[in-house]
């Protein structure tokens, strides 16, 4: 499944996360993870992001996660919405 359009979910407010998905021409998924707590939680954020993208079957997209200290449930909710929006027309 390819990402069909550029979308965002979430926000840059404190305790939230902004997820941006952009379609790529090539068959690959690029992850860019920024976080204000990258040292403590960077690896976990990446794992959750990759896991959800794989589950959604995304195959050609750049997924940019800008975390502002969101709880994992928030991150999952934002990712789910963004992944859903990127393929729904």
């Amino acid at each position: 499944m390819k990402a069909l359009r550029s979308v965002t979910a979430g926000s840059l407010e404190s305790s939230d996360v902004l997820v941006t998905i952009t379609p790529l021409a090539e068959e690959k998924v690029e992850y860019v993870i920024d976080s204000i707590v990258i040292k403590q939680f960077g690896a976990r954020i990446r794992k959750v992001t990759e896991e959800m993208a794989n589950q959604a079957g995304v195959s050609a997209a750049r997924i940019h996660v800008q975390d502002r200290g969101a709880l994992e449930c928030t991150l999952r909710a934002r990712l789910e919405t963004a992944l859903d929006r990127s393929v729904a027309c």
């Binding site: 359009r5 550029s6 979308v7 965002t8 979430g10 926000s11 840059l12 407010e13 404190s14 902004l18 941006t20 952009t22 690029e30 860019v32 920024d34 750049r62 940019h64 800008q66 502002r68």
Partner: protein, 369 residues
């Protein structure tokens, strides 16, 4: 839109009264109302405007939060909404224009700094693909070529004998010459046509590479006022000088080192105010070697200077050849005169069927570009 966040209501500002409130809020934070039309958002608490921000093309600007509402996340709310709008509009590269004093606030929200002139303006960008990656791709393309290269930046709307003379001179005085073509598609001749005419018209010069100007050379982000009708008023001239400086500091600090540029060539500008201000600023920013003066432009002391070589405009019958003259002749329907002012490659294209809609648009436009 219209979502409530912490009791704040988001609105699109349209009316005169709303825009006056916005101007007052900007002024209270020492900011001026940005030039150019765009989407203006406001956050209200009841009937009081507490935060504002605008999206003009691909640039976020005019962002201000009421002093009493700082630290409440109102700025982050506005910026998030503007980013969402930009992405919905299919804008791939988002910039943010602010003062250098305010820049750290936006860096905290995940923006990266391109340039910041101390005490002056700053340009930041958002997203995963930034100027560092762009310069890495330039560096890779320049791999194996000689150093001390030359650069010409042109719009070529369309490519004339004057452009040809400038490029020929620059190529003869550089081991390698890069010709950047302004990519912003706001000219009467579309970018793809301008690019093709320059490539065809310089194909015989072995040491010239014609490249897309990209988002960092005279673009709507680095130099928005370039694409607006010139205005002789002092405030407008000041904006032009400020944008010109941002564009040129970006060139010297980022692009020139990637291509190992030693010289930039320009033609003298007899007609256009904006371009002549740009050229004057260029002569100040690019060759400066005094560390204190460089610091004033926001340039690190190690950045190599660039010699600016200004060449008198190419003339035919005592008249400078310019693209605006060519467009004027097209508008008047005087094609035989055009033939004298353009290289054969441009002339052939103008006579092709592909050119018809472009010529038609020129005849019915009074645009400067």
């Amino acid at each position: 839109m219209g979502e409530t966040e912490f009791g704040l209501e988001e609105r699109v500002l349209r009316t005169k009264a709303e825009l006056a409130e916005r101007a007052a809020l900007l002024a209270s934070r020492g900011l001026t109302v940005p030039t150019g039309e765009g989407l203006v958002l406001g956050l209200y608490q009841g009937e009081r405007l507490v935060a504002t921000g605008a999206l003009v093309r691909n640039v976020l600007q005019g962002i201000a939060v009421d002093a009493g509402f700082e630290g409440e996340g109102a700025g982050a709310t506005i910026v998030s909404s503007l980013i969402k709008t930009a992405i919905q509009r299919g804008i791939a590269q988002i910039f943010l224009f602010t003062t250098s004093d305010e820049a750290p606030r936006f860096e905290g929200l995940g923006f990266s700094r391109i340039v910041a002139v101390p005490g002056g303006a700053a340009l930041l960008e958002w997203g995963a693909q930034g100027i560092a990656q762009y310069c890495a791709s330039l560096r890779a393309a320049a791999e194996g070529r000689h150093g001390r290269t030359g650069v010409v930046v042109v719009n070529c709307n369309p490519f004339t004998a004057g452009h040809r003379a400038l490029i020929e001179y620059a190529a003869a005085h550089s081991p390698w010459l890069y010709v950047f073509v302004v990519e912003e598609d706001l000219s009467l001749f579309p970018f793809e046509v301008r690019f093709k005419l320059i490539r065809d018209g310089t194909a015989d010069l072995p040491n010239v590479t014609v490249i897309r100007g990209g988002p960092y050379i005279i673009s709507s982000a680095t130099f928005p006022t370039y694409f607006i009708r010139p205005d002789r008023e002092e405030a407008a001239q000041k904006a032009v000088r400020m944008h010109a400086a941002l564009d040129l500091v970006t060139f010297r600090g980022w692009i020139a080192p990637a291509l190992r540029v030693a010289r930039r060539f320009v033609g003298t500008e007899p007609y256009c105010d904006t371009t002549s201000v740009y050229n004057e600023t260029m002569k100040m920013v690019l060759p400066e070697e005094d560390p204190a003066a460089m610091d004033k432009w926001g340039l690190e002391s190690g950045v190599a200077p660039i010699e600016v070589i200004e060449i008198p405009r190419f003339e035919i019958d005592d008249e400078a050849v310019s693209a605006s003259k060519v467009r004027e002749l097209i508008r008047e329907g005087n094609l035989p005169e055009v033939e004298k002012l353009v290289p054969r490659t441009t002339w052939e294209w103008l006579r092709s069927t592909e050119a018809a809609p472009v010529l038609d648009r020129i005849r019915h436009s009074d645009s400067r570009h």
